[in-house]
């Protein structure tokens, strides 16, 4: 480490007044242009932002920070309460599902879903619903409702009742 580097390392403490300026320091600056410039830079750096420090009100900032921290802590508590409640509710729901499934001892078999021709053939104008007014929507709803009600009475055909042509149509439709 050369002498100038050593001097530079000491300059901030000297510029900030943390150490008295030694005689050898001044003697070196007198004969070293590079260190004089370093000293100017370091001194200027030591003074940067001083007006900003004087312009703020630490007491006001302290009050604001403490108030914000109190609000944030309250929000944290609410969040923890909500998260805890959600976890508990999810755990309760899971327990219920596990318990009811385990208690029955048998698996639940849902009735098979069969295609109903009347429902399958009914076309709902879904794409145009946005354009309808309230009266038109009510009409569509009533048609839909009536059609579904009517479909409930239609007997579901069985495959063995189909003619060979009908059977072929079904197979074609399945094969796409």
């Amino acid at each position: 480490m050369n002498r100038c580097d050593e001097m530079l390392d000491r300059m901030p403490d000297l510029a900030l007044g943390r150490m008295p300026i030694p005689a050898d320091f001044e003697a070196h600056l007198a004969g070293c242009q590079s260190c004089r410039l370093n000293w100017q830079v370091t001194r200027a750096g030591s003074l940067l932002g001083a007006p900003a420090a004087a312009s703020i009100d630490p007491d006001r900032i302290a009050g604001q920070v403490v108030a914000r921290l109190a609000v944030a802590r309250q929000a944290d508590r609410r969040w923890r309460g909500w998260a805890w409640g959600t976890v508990m509710a999810a755990a309760a729901a899971l327990s219920l599902v596990v318990y009811t499934g385990h208690d029955s001892g048998t698996s639940t078999t849902l009735p098979p879903v069969t295609a109903d021709r009347s429902v399958a053939s009914f076309e709902v104008p879904v794409s145009g619903l946005d354009d309808l007014d309230a009266t038109e929507l009510q009409t569509v709803y009533e048609q839909l409702d009536g059609s579904l009600e009517g479909s409930a009475t239609v007997a579901t055909p069985h495959l063995e009742e189909l003619s060979p042509d009908e059977m072929q149509q079904v197979l074609n439709s399945l094969e796409g």
């Binding site: 580097d5 530079l8 390392d9 300059m11 901030p12 403490d13 510029a15 900030l16 943390r18 150490m19 590079s34 410039l37 370093n38 100017q40 830079v41 370091t42 200027a44 750096g45 030591s46 003074l47 940067l48 932002g49 001083a50 007006p51 900003a52 420090a53 004087a54 312009s55 703020i56 009100d57 630490p58 007491d59 900032i61 302290a62 009050g63 604001q64 920070v65 403490v66 914000r68 921290l69 109190a70 944030a72």
Partner: protein, 182 residues
């Protein structure tokens, strides 16, 4: 070297510990003792003068919200300055790098020495402008060392580097800034 009165790391650590155990007055005390130096640091690093107080408040708020991440490797003061530096970086990013040089620094020169004041003003303005052009790490190391008087070891701990690297950054920063006043 004489530490600034009432600003020892030991008392900072005690106050932080008290805050962690629920003493809000400790937080207020820490804010009061560190807000001015944080304001200086932010202004030196290119914060808008009109926004310095808000930035100081935000940096301190963030610091206390993540107080558990301060484990004493760096001093509390250096750790706060690092948070302030990150906050300022975020602000600059939001404004797409817009920076303004604080002209308020001109008011601190010695009125009894008008000639010296003009020269000092010029040097300070060039240094301040040049500082904003330095790489962020060099700028922060320069401010931590020259403005705050932080030791290389503490700078290294605060910025996640080594004391040797911090020293190199400081020397490079001074060399670059020196070129502006030659």
């Amino acid at each position: 070297m004489t530490p600034l009165p009432g600003l020892t790391d030991e008392t900072d650590a005690r106050l932080v510990q008290a805050y962690r155990t629920g003493d809000e007055r400790s937080a207020a005390e820490l804010v009061r003792r560190h807000a001015p130096m944080l304001a200086r640091f932010l202004a030196g690093a290119g914060a808008f003068p009109s926004e310095v107080e808000d930035l100081v408040q935000e940096a301190l708020f963030r610091a206390f919200r993540r107080i558990d991440s301060w484990r004493g490797e760096a001093s509390f003061r250096s750790w706060l300055l690092t948070i302030g530096g990150n906050l300022l970086k975020d602000e600059h990013r939001k404004r797409k790098g817009r920076t303004v040089i604080s002209i308020e620094d001109r008011e601190i020169r010695d009125p009894a020495d008008p000639a010296g004041r003009v020269v000092a003003d010029e040097v300070a303005d060039r240094i301040q402008a040049g500082l904003l052009k330095l790489p962020r790490l060099q700028r922060e190391v320069f401010l931590l060392r020259a403005q705050q008087g932080t030791e290389y070891k503490d700078i290294a701990a605060a910025l996640g580097t080594t004391p040797g690297a911090a020293r190199v950054h400081f020397h490079h920063a001074v060399k670059a800034l020196k070129g502006l006043i030659e």
